[in-house]
């Protein structure tokens, strides 16, 4: 017997996948195949346009949470945490695999379409430097030991006409056009169309009404139907440069996985997913390399590991009135 035959016979020649494993793999393939059917003419990639959600408060309005509750009128019911053995990839190693697990998990949620007069409620904890530090270095890294989480609460009516926020314990409600103020809001009629990665790509180039929030921002700042969230995750999975940040992240006691792209060569802009449930639980921007920025207003030094932004998504749900929390 030669060495090739010995190798062949010595190492588990009859190893076979479990029926469940084969089924999962077949479903993953089927899922990859299915969206192809609804593919429209591939749009040319155009320059990306980012419109902030609203002026002022909106920049701080970052976002929402994954486990949603429900009101009779609309919203999602929380999915039970997916059993580890149920997700498509048991031990995901790539950003694409983690995002597929996230898409699969979110698809387990139940959803009732909201009425136009209901509100998206988004509650986040945003890490910020003390006011004096922010005034001195508005774009500086968060200072360890000094930066603190601040609660941000935002309500946006589904029809985009009313927005509310909590400021120093008081509810502030604004209407489009009040005092001449306007804010951009991706129309609900556009959101509900984003049911495949191809449609998300098309939306980026042809946003309805000319209002476009990046898909990552949509996932974090809007309360979305499960199939829309899943389509966004699958869209992100196909984007070049999406990587897993191997550095461990602990967000509010939850071990998290950071997925994102490096921008400007040294900053990693990441979405954070719960390691066990694959729920989207936050976002952050962190330096992944040392960097020196020389500008007219001075030279700044960034060190690998410096954290520039960290947001925890606390709650994301549909409510009836501004001020309602569930």
């Amino acid at each position: 017997m030669d060495e090739i035959s010995i190798l062949r016979e010595t190492f588990d020649p009859d190893v076979a996948p479990s029926a469940a494993a084969e089924q999962r793999a077949r479903m993953a393939l089927q899922d990859r195949i299915t969206p192809m059917q609804s593919r429209t003419t591939a749009p040319k990639r155009a320059r990306r346009l980012w419109l902030p959600m609203a002026v002022g408060a909106a920049t701080a309005a970052a976002v929402v949470a994954a486990f949603v509750i429900n009101k009779p009128g609309g919203g999602a019911t929380p999915a039970p945490p997916p059993a580890a053995h149920a997700v498509p990839y048991l031990k995901p190693v790539s950003a694409a695999q983690i995002l597929e697990n996230a898409a699969w998990s979110v698809e387990q949620e139940k959803w009732v379409d909201p009425r136009p007069d209901q509100f998206m409620y988004v509650e986040t904890l945003e890490m910020r430097n003390p006011p004096a530090t922010e005034a001195e270095k508005p774009n500086g890294a968060l200072v360890p030991g000094k930066a603190r989480y601040r609660k941000v609460q935002m309500w946006n009516r589904i029809d985009g006409q009313v927005q509310a926020s909590m400021s120093k314990g008081k509810l502030q409600v604004h209407r489009q056009g009040d005092g001449g103020g306007q804010w951009a809001f991706v129309p609900w009629s556009q959101i509900v169309k984003l049911t495949t990665p191809e449609k998300v790509a098309y939306y980026e180039d042809h946003p309805e009404g000319g209002v476009m929030a990046m898909p990552e921002a949509l996932a974090g700042q809007y309360v979305l139907p499960p199939n829309v969230k899943a389509a966004i995750y699958r869209y992100l999975a196909r984007q070049p440069g999406m990587k897993v940040n191997p550095d461990a992240v602990n967000l509010d006691g939850h071990p998290a996985i950071g997925l994102g792209r490096v921008v400007e060569g040294y900053l990693s802009q990441e979405l954070l997913f719960d390691k066990k449930t694959y729920a989207l639980i936050g976002e952050r921007m962190i330096a992944v390399a040392d960097h020196v920025n020389r500008a007219d207003d001075g030279t700044s030094y960034t060190h690998k590991g410096d954290l520039f932004r960290q947001v925890i998504y606390r709650k994301m749900t549909i409510v009836d009135q501004p001020g309602d929390l569930s």
Binding site: I6, R8, T10, V15, P17, A25, L29, Q30, I33
Partner: protein, 195 residues
């Protein structure tokens, strides 16, 4: 739409892939034909847990690349094993750990041999052989190991192995030669006895 197994059974892999370019569902027939073999190959290299994900990703990658498949090649196995090998190569440390564990297990079992019962001795010899081979596999550079294992575990010939890995046939031949020598050295006396 569901691919009809009876119809798929009459078609070559290349014909199915050609059809899948127009009607993607045909690609499931490629999955049904080759998934288990791809899984077995990957599982022997990485173990069952990682094999599940890597085998699955092999077919997703293949599906995405179906338009670049050379339709002159009727048999898709070299193409699929090539994709699987490239994905396995991303887990080189996990593969190395697996061989190290197998080598350790083989060493421990062989150390307990008492030589009294033929059946026990035979089993322990097999464990020792597996341990030595695992250690030799661990020491091989990944590109050399890939050639050897595509031949030994995937059942490809040298030409198919070269196609799978996108390397010249001469390179595949020299890597296989080197790998076989290493395996022979690891096996030492056993192979001489059998011969």
């Amino acid at each position: 739409m569901v691919t009809q197994p009876s119809a798929a059974g009459l078609l070559t892999d290349a014909q199915l892939i050609e059809r899948a370019r127009r009607t993607p569902e045909h690609f499931t027939a490629i999955f049904d034909r080759h998934y288990r073999n791809i899984y077995a190959y990957v599982a022997r290299r990485l173990g069952p847990d990682l094999a599940e994900d890597v085998a699955s990703e092999t077919f997703l990658t293949a599906f995405d690349r179906r338009h670049s498949y050379d339709l002159a090649r009727g048999d898709a196995r070299p193409w699929l094993y090539g994709i699987a090998s490239n994905l396995v190569a991303r887990h080189v440390r996990a593969e190395s750990r697996r061989y190290r564990a197998l080598a350790r297990a083989g060493g421990q079992e062989s150390g307990t041999a008492d030589g009294h019962a033929d059946a026990v001795a035979g089993r322990l010899d097999a464990a020792a052989v597996k341990g030595r081979l695992a250690e030799a596999l661990r020491r091989l550079p990944e590109p050399v190991r890939a050639v050897l294992l595509l031949v030994a575990w995937a059942g490809l010939n040298q030409q198919e192995t070269a196609e799978a890995l996108g390397i010249p046939a001469g390179t595949a031949r020299s890597r296989l030669h080197r790998a076989r020598l290493e395996m022979r050295q690891a096996l030492g006396a056993e192979i001489e006895m059998d011969e």
